[in-house]
């Protein structure tokens, strides 16, 4: 295909050509960034979590009498255990993605202060006996807490558990002691110290606050005897039973402690609530992309149709002097290809620039390079698809058109 005549013709239609290039460039730039943001958010929404999310139901019990916690918690757990379909129950101080963070700074040396650099902000989970089974924690190294650990651990007057054993997530173990085994090591919080007895697969934190997304798996587990800080009751069942279990568990606790506020939810719903903002943003971005691509495609169709209508006579002449339909078709396709190529080249630069701007002014990361060619190919395909109709109509122009005037 000769591109010389195409370029010559484009030079005569500078403004419409420029418009198509500009439109494709803008669409390419927005598409790259939007898809990148969709990917980032979808990644967040799907963050893995090494507990049995599908089978969990959670009931929060707030406003119970703290003085009676040591007798009421075992009673509550007993009653929950009797709900049909429940495989395990336990109670914790908070739950992953609950929004209720217990953030504490830990250090690896006794002489470091919690405010020093090098201390790591983590969430602490205080759990009653059996919580490892109820949550479905996956032990990677070492051991789980034993009964004596649970029985001896109490809550001091502050938020620090009075115990000396701890289990950390794999991610946190790697951050506190890079390249070494965490087992047997001590971590410090002020004058408290805890020895790591086990490492579990990564469990999410209750909130992003504290360390943001990179620290979302920095979690430490402590054993805890029944105390008033434990108010997230967690029940494990078959996924099919979870809705009923959540409802029944809420009713059970509300009946047992009519003075307190019980609120039951499945963990799947908790995750949905936590990421509701991210998922509505994803849908909004998807909508923008779809409508934008549609507008761009219609724009290309509209302009090319106009072009074709304007050049019916020339097309007729070309057909009359021997050009086949395929030639006409490929003429318009090549023309579109050239315009798209210019558009995506400009678009990739623009996409990169927009990303830099967003990084500076919004909480957006650097876009990996492969989004650029990805967006370019998408726009190029869109252009080819959009031009097909008008080009096909152009190819249908009969040679006799050459003999008609005007």
């Amino acid at each position: 295909m000769e591109i010389g005549p195409i370029l010559a013709s484009l030079r005569k239609h500078r403004i419409p050509a420029l418009l198509i290039v500009l439109e494709i460039a803008l669409a390419c730039a927005v598409l790259c960034n939007a898809v990148f943001m969709i990917g980032a958010r979808a990644g967040e929404i799907r963050l893995s979590d090494a507990i049995d999310e599908q089978g969990l139901s959670v009931v929060t019990l707030t406003g119970a009498d703290p003085e009676r916690a040591s007798s009421e918690i075992p009673r509550n757990l007993d009653a929950l255990r009797r709900i049909p379909g429940v495989q395990a129950v336990a109670v914790l101080n908070t739950m992953p993605l609950s929004g209720n963070g217990w953030n504490v700074n830990f250090t690896t040396r006794p002489d470091m202060k919690p405010t020093d650099k090098g201390s790591i902000n983590s969430n602490i989970y205080l759990m009653s006996e059996g919580a490892d089974r109820a949550l479905g924690l996956r032990l990677k190294q070492g051991r789980m807490f034993g009964s004596e650990d649970y029985a001896s651990s109490t809550m001091g007057a502050t938020f620090a558990p009075e115990t000396h054993v701890a289990i950390v997530s794999e991610r946190l173990a790697g951050r506190l002691w890079p390249g070494q085994s965490a087992l047997g090591r001590k971590m410090y919080m002020d004058k408290y110290w805890y020895q790591v007895v086990g490492v579990v697969a990564d469990v999410l934190r209750p909130t992003r606050a504290g360390a943001g997304l990179p620290g979302i798996y920095d979690t430490v587990f402590f054993p805890m005897q029944p105390t008033d800080v434990l108010n997230y009751y967690v029940l494990r069942s078959a996924p099919a039973d979870r809705d009923r279990v959540a409802r029944q568990a809420e009713d059970t606790l509300a009946r047992l402690d009519p003075g307190a506020v019980a609120e039951g939810k499945t963990f799947v719903d908790m995750r949905g609530d936590f990421f509701s903002g991210a998922s509505s943003m994803v849908w909004m971005l998807v909508l923008v992309c779809v409508v934008m691509l549609a507008v761009t495609a219609f724009g290309i169709v509209g302009l090319t149709s106009f072009w074709v209508a304007q050049r019916r006579r020339q097309i007729g002449i070309r057909r009359a002097v021997g050009a086949r339909r395929g030639h006409i078709l490929s003429y318009f396709r090549t023309e579109n290809f050239l315009l798209s190529a210019a558009g995506v080249a400009l678009g990739m630069v623009l996409a990169f620039g927009i990303n830099l701007y967003l990084m500076q002014h919004y909480e957006v990361d650097r876009m990996p390079w492969y989004y650029l060619p990805g967006g370019a190919i998408a726009l190029w395909l869109l252009g080819q698809a959009a031009v097909y109709g008008p080009a096909h109509r152009a190819a249908m122009v009969p040679p006799v058109e050459a003999t008609r005037s005007g």
Partner: protein, 440 residues
């Protein structure tokens, strides 16, 4: 002349319905997306205290022992600093702010207990922030002094508990204490909930929670020390864990202070007062950083906290990029449309129409498309805002189109269409009559 051009424009639009629909639709979706996001942005970034915000200030001191001397003061203060500054009464008005969640029951009302969001503050809060009351009154400085067991409840809570009736004089049980309702708020929905804003710079742009509804119960800060004990929402703590047993003496930041200062001299005076206080506390050995004080006014404080969620700002940027694409599209289509009529324009020019006249005629046509697009954009904006209202975000209930934004919708649409029509109209007005007449 204008009506004639309008008539011509309508005729021309009718002639090629598909092309017209395409242009109107492109403008409509562009405007719809832009105006939806712009309206949300406008609602979230507005001044929550119009006319008053420049007299409201947020003093801060740095009670931490952090070794970094250049660090910013904590977003809220410890109990002692806040109460010291407040009780000096050096401002025209001053209000302490701390929030908590307490179990609430209403005796004689058949509802299960619930957790209520409680704002504990001082009597100046109500006049200082122009909080509207439906029934009863707010509490007085004497109530602050005497730790009176009184509360003001929100209109939502009043509807839920008492069916909207005048509940002044009734009692609610907060945690383990009875407090008497002395006032009920009229519906009050500041955007954002500015007096509670703190920590925005640590939220990674996820600041939608600043737009939550105001608390359900308001009670004196002093009373709350008895009622809530240490159960307050704490911003952050530092120092040794042992010292955290009692929140009032703990190295924890959980109390904010707002002051009203009516003129510049008072502002300067109050800045000096806060600086002197910090220096004095350093001399006493309680502060490490005696010079790390700050006092922003309301809008500066909201800016500092990046209150508008970054998703909302991102959506505006995206929507306008989208509008730009739609405009490119419209420019192209208008160009096609006008140039297709080169023959007609040639005749008009030959019959004596000036270039200006042709230009004006084309612009009227573009403007008409803009107006139609604006109409569609308005409908799409309503649809967009309806979608926003269905989102599970705190500001969902705020998303409504006001008169200003309604007019802005049409203004933006017509402006966009005129801009889009500029180049095509210019091209059309340059059509040489002779050449066109020859080919007719």
């Amino acid at each position: 002349m204008f009506t004639y051009y309008l008539d011509l424009a309508l005729r021309s639009l009718k002639r090629n319905k598909a092309l017209t629909a395409l242009m109107v639709l492109a403008i409509a979706v562009g405007i719809g997306a832009s105006m939806t996001t712009l309206t949300v942005m406008h609602l979230l970034s507005g001044d929550p205290m119009p006319g008053r915000s420049a007299t409201l200030f947020y003093p801060q001191v740095d009670p931490t022992d952090s070794p970094k001397p250049d660090s910013q003061p904590r977003d809220v203060m410890d109990y002692r600093s806040a109460v010291d500054l407040w009780s000096a009464h050096r401002a025209d008005r001053q209000a302490l702010i701390a929030s908590t969640e307490l179990k609430l029951r209403a005796p004689g009302v058949n509802l299960p207990p619930q957790m209520a969001r409680v704002l504990t503050t001082t009597s100046d809060f109500f006049p200082m922030f122009s909080v509207p009351l439906r029934y009863g009154t707010a509490w007085t400085p004497a109530d602050d002094e005497q730790r009176s067991r009184v509360a003001v409840i929100s209109s939502d809570l009043n509807n839920r508990l008492f069916g909207g009736a005048n509940s002044v004089g009734r009692t609610v049980r907060l945690k383990d204490s009875d407090v008497r309702i002395i006032g009920v708020l009229a519906p009050w929905r500041p955007s954002p909930q500015f007096y509670d804003v703190a920590g925005g710079r640590f939220s990674e742009g996820k600041t939608a929670s600043f737009y939550a509804k105001p608390e359900e119960v308001f009670m004196p800060f002093s009373t709350a020390q008895d009622v809530a004990g240490s159960e307050f929402n704490v911003f952050t703590c530092w120092g040794s864990v042992e010292a955290m047993k009692h929140l009032q003496t703990a190295p924890c930041a959980w109390v904010a202070l707002w002051v009203q200062l009516d003129d510049a001299a008072k502002v300067a005076g109050y800045r000096r007062f806060v600086a002197d206080y910090a220096a004095q506390q350093k001399a006493l050995g309680r502060f490490v950083h005696g010079d790390n004080t700050r006092m922003m006014d309301l809008m500066q404080w909201l800016d500092f906290n990046h209150v508008v969620p970054s998703d909302v700002r991102l959506q505006v940027v995206l929507a306008f990029a989208f509008l730009l694409i739609c405009l490119c599209n419209t420019v192209g289509l208008l160009l096609a449309k006008f140039l297709r009529r080169s023959g007609e324009i040639g005749v008009r020019r030959a019959l004596g129409a000036s270039r200006g006249a042709v230009f004006a005629q084309c612009l009227v046509e573009a403007g008409t498309i803009g107006l139609l697009g604006g109409l569609g954009g308005w409908l799409l904006t309503l649809l967009g805002l309806w979608l926003v209202r269905r989102q599970p975000v705190e500001y969902a209930d705020l998303a409504h189109l006001d008169a200003g934004m309604f007019l802005a919708t049409f203004a933006l649409a017509v402006l966009a269409a005129l801009l889009a029509g500029l180049v095509p109209a210019l091209r059309a007005s340059r059509v040489t009559p002779g050449l066109q007449l020859k080919t007719l």
